[in-house]
Symmetry: C2
Subunit: 143 residues, 2 copies
Amino acid sequence: MVRTVVAQGTFDILHPGHVHYLRDAAAMGDELVVIVARGENVTHKQPPILPNSQRVAMIEALEPVDRAILGHPDDIFAPIKELDPDVIALGHDQHHDEDAIQSELHRRGIDCAVNRASAREPEFEGELLSTGLIIDRILEERR
Amino acid sequence: MVRTVVAQGTFDILHPGHVHYLRDAAAMGDELVVIVARGENVTHKQPPILPNSQRVAMIEALEPVDRAILGHPDDIFAPIKELDPDVIALGHDQHHDEDAIQSELHRRGIDCAVNRASAREPEFEGELLSTGLIIDRILEERR
């Protein structure tokens, strides 16, 4: 039996924190499918710079990822129902309530563990481990 | 015999053009090693936003890449001599003179083909296929 893991996020400007999350997620099973948020659904932070298809293409090019798809426009649980994963891997800093997710999965009859990925330890000086930090650096150096 | 291909570049903010180049390069042999330019050696355009180690880590996370290393501080041919590749893959838009490279390789006793990767055909609307275009978009939308 292939154990499918689902990870998800916006994945705008890629950085080693994304890679760490996806490697950690991939290690939770045999196959990693990543759901990439549609720009129009990103409301808890500034909308992404890069278009939907570009973010999907870049995530699919990362070594730990088997497949990337765009999220559903209205129902974030719809692709989960379809993929029927064994594990949902949350990023260490994603503001999701594991219990709330677990009970919604239960309500929809999806039997799936909810795990949280570890944080990446800083590995070298000066690394920029978030899209926001990269954008800030660009605004400082190029404006 | 393992055919080694070397690709090289700055690889600042990653985009699908980079992925296309590296997939094309990987297809020229069995093993792809990527030489990532040190920020201090990037003089023909603005210096990269991201630190050396971060750019190496991100290139190493891409599926077509087997290994990434930082370039030599003074001698761009030094790592080529050490890696002794079968093919050097140039990016479609890299301003290198194939003949000049070939004659320097010859002078140094390196027997290696110099191929040029194809350009990526645009695949979807609104894609930003250069680090410069991504930075311009960030400056427009977030300044």
